[in-house]
């Protein structure tokens, strides 16, 4: 005989869960009482459920394993929505669990009851509302399989209180999810290989799917064999080390100029594990206009969803890249393929920025540039959303997959800080930096005590311009500089707020001060927030105006 709560703990353990993030409450107390006995599972108490979900998400993105978040019913579960939606848009395997009122009370407006099942339908890959032990057992088993297989994504389980208390011998007989990875035919692989071998200016566009499938080494070997430059989406950042001679950085609305031009000049574009987000492509009809487009993705429904490729291949990035690579070995000589030649060096040069280390107020781009020197290859960088995120995308050089963790699809301000805590919970020996803006910082800074309490030190670098910077930039460029509801005034003292939360708080107004403070933060190994006062109206460039093609890139005011 086993209770629902015990079954849940046992199944989480069987699925390798060692850390859970969340907040308890009435409808989930039986589970917490069982967790009390489980010494091998650490529970990290968040200060708000949205942050708890971001922690689980950060944990999942850094490790590739499922991140788990547990909350109570009603407000506990509705607070999860943003975090779960964020994981869904970026295909992150989060298992989110909420307590629910007892089955006899569901639908009767009981205390802390909300229709979480319906809410989660649009935000998850799958969700369950088990009503007995058999269904609970099957839900947990299938949740992990569904979250981690194929294109990963979040799965939610809403567990009524009486189901947690039920006793019995559960049977796994409801349904068993099975996933067979799609395998492209030899003909498809040969055809694509031939096109790539004959290409003069091939470009590889690597998305988050390359990182999720663990296809980085295949991608690099592939690019080197073809002598093809690699551009990435924000989610694909780090799939190739960004200091690699063939890496041109991110392409898109705030992509690097060289990356944007390479895509536009390409005659064959191989896009792997990407969904052609509008933030990546600009106006689709003008995206890589001369290129024959090959789209590889594990999610069949992504092929042709937005961009209609010349050839679509449904398959896992690692599998497909290695098979094309084997074909190409017979077709081309390493480094001799294509005709990019000197143009590649020019493109790299066009992406270069001039950093002013002495300017006061400091340029946000220089702050991120300096930060590169303090981030070891094993360390992690998370970001918030907005200008700070785009400065990070442009000026931080990711050295490996999963090093750069950012909210791409949903664009959730406040993601970076809790995500950094989640990353740190998985990698205690590595440093974790959050590149933030002041707007984002104030959305989830209430999670700082979690970092302090659980000795999960992170370093938050706030690019503080006292503005909602990206909105201000749009108002400047597209709304005649009519600034509306973007001025954050700057009366709140970020360093002192952080000190109040138990973290170390610093303020820096010069690059030299920033360097000193970073050294202290790294040496002290405590949760640290560095408030860097940056130029208020600095804009992120390059920029593709909304609904414009990549050719219409703006590089200055």
């Amino acid at each position: 005989m086993v209770s629902g709560a015990k079954l849940l703990v046992d199944k989480l353990r069987e699925n390798g869960v060692k850390t859970i993030f969340g907040i308890p409450g009435g409808a989930v107390l039986p589970f917490f009482d069982e967790l009390y006995k489980a010494e091998d599972i650490e529970f990290i108490l968040a200060r708000h459920e949205q942050g708890a979900a971001h922690m689980a998400d950060g944990y999942a993105r850094a490790t590739g394993r499922a991140g788990v978040v547990v909350t109570t019913s009603g407000p506990g579960a509705t607070n999860l929505a943003t975090g779960v939606a964020n994981a869904y848009l970026d295909s992150s395997p989060v298992i989110s669990i909420s307590g629910q009122v007892s089955t006899s009370l569901i639908g009767y407006d009981a205390f802390q009851e909300a229709n979480i099942f319906s809410m989660m339908i649009g935000l998850t890959k799958m969700n369950f509302l088990p009503r007995n032990l058999d269904e609970l057992s099957s839900a947990i088993e299938n949740a992990f399989k569904i979250a981690l297989s194929g294109r990963p994504g979040p799965v939610h389980i809403d567990i009524p209180r009486d189901v947690q208390l039920m006793e019995g011998e559960p049977m796994n007989n409801i349904f068993s999810y099975s996933y067979n990875p799609p395998v492209p035919s030899d003909e498809e692989i040969f055809l694509v290989s031939r096109i790539l071998a004959d290409a003069e200016r091939p470009v590889i566009l690597a998305g988050g799917g390359v990182i999720m499938s663990g296809a980085s080494s295949e991608l690099i070997a592939f690019a080197e064999l073809l002598n093809a430059p690699v551009v990435t989406t924000l989610m694909g950042k780090g799939s190739i080390p960004e200091d690699h001679p063939l890496s041109l950085g991110c392409v898109g609305m705030h992509g690097k100029l060289g990356a944007i031009k390479a895509v536009q000049e390409s005659d064959v574009l191989l896009a792997v594990g990407t969904r052609f987000s509008d933030r990546t492509t600009g106006k689709l009809s003008g995206f890589a206009p001369r290129a024959k487009k090959i789209h590889v993705d594990i999610d069949r429904s992504e092929i042709g969803k937005l961009l209609k490729p010349d050839i679509g291949i449904v398959g896992d990035a690692k599998h497909v890249l290695s098979r094309i690579y084997s074909n190409l070995l017979k077709m081309v000589q390493k480094g001799k393929a294509g005709r990019w030649g000197e143009r590649l060096k020019q493109l790299k040069k066009e992406s270069e920025f001039l950093y002013d280390y002495d300017a006061v107020p400091v340029k946000p781009s220089t702050v991120v540039k300096v930060l590169n020197d303090y981030v070891a290859p094993g360390d992690f960088v998370t970001t918030e959303v907005g200008q700070c995120q785009m400065y990070a995308s442009l000026h931080f050089l990711a050295k490996r997959p999963r090093q750069f963790i950012s909210s791409g699809g949903l664009g959730t301000m406040g993601f970076g800080l809790p995500a950094a805590i989640g990353v740190k919970a998985a990698f205690r020996e590595q440093r974790v930096f959050d590149i933030a803006g002041d707007g984002s910082f104030f959305m989830t800074c209430n999670q700082l005590p979690v970092s302090v309490d659980y000795e999960l030190p992170i370093i938050v670098v706030v690019l503080n311009n006292y503005f909602l910077g990206m909105v201000r930039q749009w108002q400047e460029l597209f709304y005649g500089r009519r600034y509306m509801a973007v001025d954050l005034k700057g009366k709140a003292d970020i360093a002192r707020v952080s000190e109040g939360f138990g973290a170390k708080g610093f303020k820096a107004t010069r690059i030299s001060e920033l360097k000193e403070v970073l050294q202290i933060a790294i040496k002290q190994n405590e949760t640290t927030v560095i408030d860097v006062v940056v130029e208020r109206e600095d804009n992120v460039f390059p920029m593709i105006p909304p609904a414009a093609t990549l050719d219409e890139v703006i590089v200055r005011r």
Binding site: I121, E135, S301, G304
Partner: protein, 165 residues
Amino acid sequence: MAVDENKRFIVLRVLNIPGVMERISSIFARRGINIDTITVGVINGKTSQISLTFNLPEDKFENIVKVLEKNPCILEVKIGSLESDVIREAFVAVLRDCDTNVSDYIRIRYRARTTLLSESKLLVELLADPRVVNEFKEEFTDRIESFSRSGVMIHTLNHYRKLKA
């Protein structure tokens, strides 16, 4: 009979668990697609079959089929067609101002079951191609007092087509 090119018929084999209908209808709702008819029947304890009809242009239809296919609670998606599959709708109506001649005509012309409810009221039970149901409705529009229709049920014959080929 005229064929509306954007009219879609699909059959889903789905898990027989709570919430599946909502999960499927939300796929349509968020894309602004109106489901015209929906019928559900239990196949066995674990799975059910859903027949759906809706209007959608070809270029969008392909994507929604793929989106349905990848949903974990949908085990199989089949596309039906008026030309080669059995597509039927049940239609029940009460007609006024009818006599035995009308009743005979309906039985022969539409192969429907008819029952005289009173001297002039006729119960009609019809199982037919939805286009035939529409024809019937049009022909007797002045006499129909009340009616119910079941929504479309689709039985695909793909399997037999393959055998023939």
